[in-house]
Amino acid sequence: MATIVAEAPGQATGHAEHEQSFLRKYIFSSDHKIIAIQFLFLTLFFLAVGGLLAMMMRYQIAWPDQPIPGGGILPESMVASGYILPEFYNALVTMHGSIMVFLAIMPMLVGVYANYLIPLQLGTHDMAFPRLNMYSFWLMVPAGIITLASFWVIGGAAGAGWTLYAPLSARPDLTGVELGQVMWLVALIFIGLSSILGSVNYITTTINMRAPGMTWFRMPLTIWALFITAILALLAMPVLSAAGIMLLFDQTLGTSFFLPEGGGQPLLWQHLFWFFGHPEVYILILPAMGFVSEILATGSRKPVFGYKAMVWAIVAIAFLGFIVWGHHMFMSGMNPTLGLSFTVSTLLIAVPSAIKTFNWMGTMWRGNLKLHTPMLFAISFVALFAIGGLSGVFMAATPVDIYIHDTYFIVAHLHYVLFGGSLFALFGAIYYWFPKMFGRMMSEKWGKVHFWTTFVLYNLVFFPMHGLGMVGMMRRIYDSTGYAHLEGIQDTNQLITVAAFGLYLTGFIFAFNFFWSIFKGKKASRNPWDATTLEWQTPSPPKHGNWDEVPVVYHGPHEYSHPDVLDKDWLAQNERPDVVSPAAGSH
């Protein structure tokens, strides 16, 4: 363990002009900004991969009796004479979820934005442990490679669902998948380690490396969200690692932790997985909520309504998130008394989320709204997340869940919170912080095209799924046309599929805008959004080490339309009102 000398903020950085090689500067970099951008490229790639898997699923659902166009390029083990095989469909379902959660959304929310924003918004030079940060990123690369490779091994990729329920996931004789399942578990171990090491960095940096004047209740809400998220990851991911290792041993070593024939307990897997899994979904939404608070305040030219309540709501969501996991298990055969307690705790957790929703609306109320692309995504987050949260209330009640568990109602819910929620917030965040990351603006015109097409198509895809679930369309099924109770839904499925293809294409609009703007976008100023937080008080992009001398913070993070500041409608965190507007009274 080499001695890493923590640099005290307040001192001039020693990151002087030592010229680093290209490899050291851009590939094996310990600069949090470079690492964040590396995460961004990796996760955007896996977002596209995960979406592609969904397109194949959607084709199969809509036209189960027709060969998939272009299916010929895939091997016969996946697509026989152009027809997607049921086993391959299971792999598509499993890997779509797994890749989206672990290789796209979670690392995009945390790996990109915790890395990029924490040192900048807190006013420090870099993370607490920059080299550890670099390892965190590079652990994701073998994870990604192993995951992609798993499609091409005998038996194909993992096919027991992203939730890996035992005994199915531990029994190759039942799934036909052996090596692929093992590979995904190995990839998960890499991902878990990356996440845990990252969390150590984020938590330590937030606790110990805040700039002078940056007290806890002056931190931007984005930092609060990322900090609490890191605590969730720190405490939840190791449990998944432990469970995953036991499952791996069941698969490879002949143990029977979760296999009933050996005395094991399948329910134990479910409890362990969801003990992790529920905090995981809050990991997937809290940073998004942080971004939205930030973008809404900036775009409304108003402070966040009820900043302290927002902080306590984040804390409450995280804390309650540890005692609701059983609501994923109402139909598992677990003890019914536990079902009652989990219903109560799950209904309770709607309260802090509702507080946040009303506070976002309060933030926008009578604001001077600037409806640029990030703002459009942030506003729609509030609406779409509310829909997702409301469907969650239905599912929280055990009697209702008995009916809709494992139907498309759940699929609708999870996509409203994960896509309408997290991904929309991520798009907003990408547009918002792009100028700071790359020194250029993304095209506002194409951003709006991307937003509107995405918004319309997204709702066309996922809203009807609520109805499909209510009439009983089951999840993860390969062909819904053989069921008497599902007669008549095929038209809806086909509509959804066509809309989904369109939705995937909108991704190309975004991708083109993104990559083109990196090279040819309009040069960005230091603060194109007139925002108050510290990252906007540095050049775009900031230099290595961020600051020559760390700033001093004088007030809270969202001081828009400050009554004492007369000539502009914002006040940076490191500006004093009496210095900016000398006519102002002391504050």
């Binding site: 409890h271 362990l272 003990f275 005692i323 059983g326 003890n335 536990l338």
Partner: protein, 104 residues
């Protein structure tokens, strides 16, 4: 962090100066507790539940001694103690709730 670091170091060294003998005392306690644990377990004369409770209590006592004295938590700022115990409620919730599958 230099000012805070120096301050902690000067306090720590004075702590450690009169503290060094305590390490050996704690070691003695740990030795005695270990022997007691093995004794209680191997002699097996008490009712089973008494054995289990006393063994767990002794194990926790040893763990607390190691944490407080060898890991220096007793002399650290209370906020750090808060960080150290933070996972314990999560552990308790996990084990108790899963156990309830078999108890209730």
């Amino acid at each position: 962090m230099s000012e805070a670091g120096e301050h902690t170091a000067s306090v720590a060294s004075s702590d450690h100066e009169h503290e060094a003998p305590k390490y050996m005392l704690i070691w003695l306690y740990l030795f005695i507790l270990t022997v007691a644990e093995v004794g209680v377990a191997l002699l097996d004369v008490l009712p089973k539940w008494v054995i289990v409770v006393s063994l767990l209590a002794m194990a926790v006592w040893k763990a607390v001694l190691v944490a407080m004295y060898y890991m220096h938590l007793k002399f650290e700022p209370s906020r750090l103690r808060l960080v150290a115990v933070a996972p314990l409620p999560a552990v308790a919730i996990m084990i108790i709730v899963i156990m309830m599958e078999y108890v209730l």
